[in-house]
C-alpha cells in the first residue's frame, strides 16, 4: 500500500482529471462500460479459477451469480438533470468478489464519476486478478483499484469522498458511516441480516418439491450460505416440520451427493476465522442437540456440510447473529401467522422469503413487516431482477442499487428552473400591503379568476387574512 502522501496525491490527480470534464462525456462512459464487458468475456476462465481458489465455488454457480451485467438507462428531463457526484469510493466484499466489485463500479462510471475500488483481502486470488486486469480495460486516470486489509481501508476512509458505497457487515457499516459524517459524504450501505424463509403449508406436492429445491439452493447453493441474501433460517408450522426436513434431506442428497465435499458444488468457508466462528455456533450443547442433519466439519479443508437444526434456543448466537454459513435452523410456530410478530420483534432483514399460496398471508407479509425486499415462493433470485431496487432498511442497510438505481445512487439530481424576464409579478416585491397579499394568495391557490377580480378592484380583502400592525 502506498503512503498517505502518495494516496492524497493520487486522489488529487483523480479530482483534477474529473474537473476536466472527461468522465461526464457519454462517449467516455460507453467506452469504459464496453471495456468492462470485454474484461468479463476475455477473462472468464481466469475468473472461475480465482473463485475456485478463494471460495471453492463451482464455475456454474460463479457464472450464475457474478456474470450479470446491468443495462443502464440515462434519463434526463429539462427540469431534473442528473450529474456525477465526483470521486467515489467503493468497498466490495469477499463472497461475490466480482459481482460486488463490478456492479457498483459500472453504476459509478455510467453516472460519470471517477472511482476508487477497494477489494477485499479475504479473497486474494480474485482481488489480485481484478487489480491486475481492470487497469488494462479502463481509463487509469479515472479508475484506481486498491487491494489490502483494514489498514488500507482506514486510510481510504480518512480522505474526503463525494460518495462511499460499502458492501459488508453492519459493524463495519457503522464505522464507514461515522467516517463519512466528518465530510458530509453520502453513503450507500449494503449490509445483511437474518433473512428468514417463512414456509407455509403447501397442499400440492409439486409446489412443495419446488419450494424445497429453492430453499436448499437458496442456502447451500449460495456460496454455502455466505451471502447477504442467503436464507438464514426457516419459520414453519410445527406440524409441517418433519415432512420439510425429510424432503430437504432428499433434495440435499440429489443436489450434493452422499458426500457433499466431493461434489465440488458447495463453496467452502472463506477462512479459518469464519470457520471457527461457525464451529462455535454449534458448540452450545442445546444447539448441538438440535442438529437433525449434517453437522460435520472439516477444518483442514474449511468445509462444513449442509446442516439442519430444529428449534435451537432463540437466545443462542445461531439465532441472534447472522449465520453466514451452511447451518439452517428451523423454528417451529403454532400457526404460520405468528411469523409476522416474530419478524417484527427482530431487526429488519435484507430480504424476507415467503413460500405460500395464501393471498391473505401474502398481503399481511407485505403490509405488516419491513425488510429490504420480499420474495414470494423463491429465494435469492431478486438479485437478478434489474428493474427492482436492491438494498436494505434499518440494520440491513441504507440506499439501493441495481439497474437504473445504480446510476441514481451515484448521481446528484440537480433541479433546474428557467424563467423568462417577461412575466413579473409586481406584487412579489416590498413594500407590502393588503392588496399585494391578496393577489399573492390568489396566485398561490392558482385562483386566476380571483387574481383578476382583485386587480380590477372587484374583490375585497378576506376578513382577518392580513392585519398590518402599521399602516402604509
Amino acid at each position: 500500500m502506498e503512503s498517505v502522501g502518495d494516496l492524497e496525491r493520487d486522489l488529487e490527480g483523480m479530482r483534477e482529471y474529473y474537473s476536466q470534464g472527461k468522465t461526464k462525456e457519454a462517449s467516455w462512459r460507453k467506452s469504459q462500460l464496453k471495456g468492462l464487458l470485454t474484461l468479463l468475456k476475455e477473462k472468464e476462465e481466469d475468473i472461475f479459477k480465482a473463485l475456485k481458489q478463494d471460495l471453492g465455488k463451482h464455475h456454474v454457480e460463479a457464472f450464475r451469480d457474478e456474470a450479470i451485467l446491468p443495462k443502464i438507462a440515462v434519463l434526463s428531463t429539462a427540469e431534473i438533470v442528473p450529474e456525477p457526484l465526483g470521486l467515489v469510493l467503493i468497498f466490495s466484499s469477499w463472497n461475490y468478489p466480482f459481482g460486488l466489485s463490478l456492479e457498483p463500479l459500472i453504476g459509478a462510471i455510467a453516472a460519470g464519476n471517477t472511482v476508487v475500488l477497494k477489494l477485499s483481502e479475504l479473497a486474494p486470488a480474485c482481488a489480485s486478478l481484478l487489480a491486475n486486469t481492470i487497469p488494462n480495460f479502463v481509463d487509469n486516470k479515472a479508475v484506481k483499484v486498491f487491494q489490502g486489509g483494514p489498514t488500507v481501508a482506514e486510510q481510504l476512509l480518512q480522505q474526503k469522498w463525494d460518495k462511499i458505497f460499502f458492501t459488508g457487515s453492519a459493524r463495519t457499516g457503522r464505522l464507514v458511516l461515522s467516517a463519512a459524517a466528518k465530510h458530509l459524504t453520502p453513503v450507500t450501505l449494503e449490509l445483511g441480516g437474518k433473512c428468514p424463509a417463512v414456509v407455509d403449508s403447501l397442499s400440492s406436492s409439486f409446489d412443495r418439491k419446488a419450494a424445497v429445491k429453492r430453499i436448499v439452493v437458496g442456502k447451500y447453493g449460495a456460496c454455502a450460505g455466505q451471502a447477504c441474501i442467503a436464507i438464514d433460517y426457516i419459520l414453519a408450522e410445527r406440524k409441517n416440520i418433519s415432512t420439510l426436513v425429510e424432503m430437504m434431506k432428499v433434495i440435499i442428497k440429489e443436489m450434493f451427493g452422499g458426500n457433499p465435499i466431493e461434489s465440488h458444488s458447495i463453496a467452502r468457508i472463506i477462512n479459518k476465522q469464519h470457520f471457527l466462528r461457525l464451529k462455535n455456533l454449534l458448540e452450545d450443547p442445546n444447539v448441538k442437540a438440535s442438529i437433525v442433519y449434517g453437522g460435520s466439519l472439516d477444518e483442514d479443508h474449511l468445509f462444513i456440510e449442509p446442516t439442519i437444526l430444529v428449534d435451537p434456543p432463540l437466545e443462542a448466537a445461531i439465532m441472534t447473529e447472522e449465520i453466514f454459513g451452511p447451518l439452517l435452523p428451523i423454528i417451529s410456530l403454532e400457526k404460520i401467522e405468528d411469523s409476522i410478530q416474530f419478524l417484527n420483534s427482530r431487526p429488519k432483514p435484507l430480504a424476507i422469503y415467503c413460500f405460500t399460496k395464501n393471498k391473505s398471508l401474502e398481503r399481511r407479509m407485505i403490509s405488516e413487516t419491513s425488510s429490504g425486499g420480499v420474495v414470494f415462493n423463491d429465494a435469492i433470485i431478486q438479485y437478478a431482477a434489474d428493474s427492482l431496487p436492491f438494498g436494505g432498511v434499518g440494520e440491513s442497510g441504507v440506499g439501493r442499487y441495481h439497474g437504473k438505481f445504480s446510476f441514481d445512487t451515484f448521481s446528484h439530481e440537480k433541479a433546474i428552473t428557467r424563467r423568462s424576464f417577461l412575466t413579473d409579478f409586481w406584487f412579489r416585491y416590498p413594500p407590502w400591503n393588503a392588496h399585494k397579499w391578496q393577489l399573492l394568495e390568489c396566485a398561490y391557490n392558482s385562483d386566476y379568476l380571483g387574481l383578476l377580480l382583485v386587480i380590477l378592484g372587484l374583490k375585497k380583502p378576506r376578513r382577518g387574512s392580513y392585519q398590518p400592525a402599521y399602516s402604509h
Partner: protein, 504 residues
Amino acid sequence: MLFVRVLNIVAARIMAIEGEKNVYEVEIEASSLVKEIRESYATGKTRSYEWRMSQLQRLVQMLEHHEQEIAEAIVADLSKPMFEALAYEVAMLKNSCSLAVKKLKQWMVPEKVKTSITTFPSSAEIVPEPLGVVLVISPWNYPFLLSLDPVIGAIAAGNAVVLKPSEVSPATSSLLAKLVGEYMDNSLIRVVEGGVAETTALLEQKWDKICYTGNGRVGRIVMAAAAKHLTPVLLELGGKSPVVVDSGINLQVATRRIIAGKWGCNNGQTCVAPDYILTTKDFAPKLVDALKHELEHFFGENPLDSKDLSRIVNSNHFARLTKLLDEDRVSGTIVHGGKSEKSTLKISPTILLDAPRDSLIMNEEIFGPLLPILTVEKVEDSFDIINSGTKPLAAYLFTSNKKLKEQFVMTVSAGGVVINDTVLHLSVAGLPFGGVQESGMGAYHGKFSFDAFSHKKAVLYRSFAGDAPVRYPPYTKGKLRLMKALIGGSILSAIFALFGLSKD
C-alpha cells in the same frame, strides 16, 4: 431495571438546579418518549390511509384556524414582515399540505415494474412503506415552514414523528408545541422543545430517519449520531449561493428579483438567499446603480426604519455579521448601506464591491443582508470561481445568452439551479429540493417528501412452476451453456443449448 430508573430520577431531582433540567432527566425523558412512540407505532395505526389523511386534514384545519396567531409568533421571533410570514410560511405550508391530501392515495400505490427473462415467470412491484419513527430538527429562520413541511412528508409516508423546533425562535416553538398538542394524534406525533441538551439527548436515541435543516457543523454532529444506529439522514444545509449576472439583460427585472431573493426573504437569513454576485468589471457599475435604485423603492430612504425588513435574529448573529464588515480590508469596499442599529438588531441592505477573496465575508455563508459583488474579466470566468468552492444549495444566473445558460446548467454543480430568477424554485411543484456535498444530502418537497420518509420495498412474486433446472446442482456443462444463453437474453441460443446444439 425499574429500580435503577427510579433511583436515577430521584438523583436527578435532588441534583436539579431550580427551573433547569439536568442531563439525566433529559436523557431519561428522551428515551422514554421514543419507547412510548415506538409502542404506538408498532400497533400499525400509521400505516392506514385513513390515519394519514386524518392527520393531514387536521394540519390543514390548524393552519386555517390559527393563521393569524402563527404569523404573529413568527413576527415576534424574527420581526419578519407580516407579508413574508404569511406568504413564505403559512401559504406555502397550506399548499404543501393540500398537495399531500390530494396526492396521498396516488403516492401510496405500489409501482408495478417489468420483469425480465432472468426471473421468468414472475411479477414485481415496488411498495412504499414508512421507515418508522422519525426525528425532525428544524431551524429558526422559517420556523413554521421548516418544522411542518418535513412533518407533512413524514406523516404522508406513514411514520410517527418527533419534532424539535429551534429554541432560537421561542414563540413559534411554543406555539407549535401547543397546536400540535391540540390538533394531532399525540400518541404518534409530538413536539419536544428545548436547546442543546434536549437535542443531544434526542440524537442519542435510535430513529428510523433524521431530518435536519441547519448548518454544516451541526449537520456533521447529526450524521455522526445517526451513524451509531445506521440511521439514514436528510440534511438540508446551506452554502454560498452565487448569482452570476451577465450584461444584455432586463436589468430592472433582474435587480428586483435579486433584491426579493436576498433582502425580501428574511433579510438574507435564508439558505437559498443569493449570497454574493459575480459580474463583469464593465457591468458592475450599472448593476450597483440599479440595485441602489430599486432598494430605495422597496425599503425607502432609511431602510433601518422599514417595516418590510426582518431584523437579525439575535445578538450573536448581529455580532457575527458586523464583524464581517469590520474586517480591515473589507470595510473600505462598502458601496452602499453598512448601517446598523444594535438596540433593534437591524442591519441595512449593504453592498460591497470586490472585497478581498480571502476575507471572511467571501468564504463563510453570510446569512444576512450583506451582498458582496465580485468582478471578473469575462462572465464565463465566474463558473470556475463557483466550482472552486464548495457546492452551494442554489446557483443563479441572469442572462439572455442561450449558450451561457446551457453551459451553466451543465458545468455548475449545486443543489438546484435557477436561470433568471432567485429562490422561487422552492415552490415549483415536481422539483426536488436539496443540496449536494457541503450543502446537504437527500431532497424533499412534494412527492420527494413522501419518498424521503419511505422505504421502497422491492417485492417479487414467483410461481412454483417455470423452474430452470440450470439453477440447481449438480452443475453440468450443459447447464452452463443454457445459463449463458438465458442471461445473454437470446431465445435462439437458449433453444440451441437445450438441444445441445451450441458450439461451446
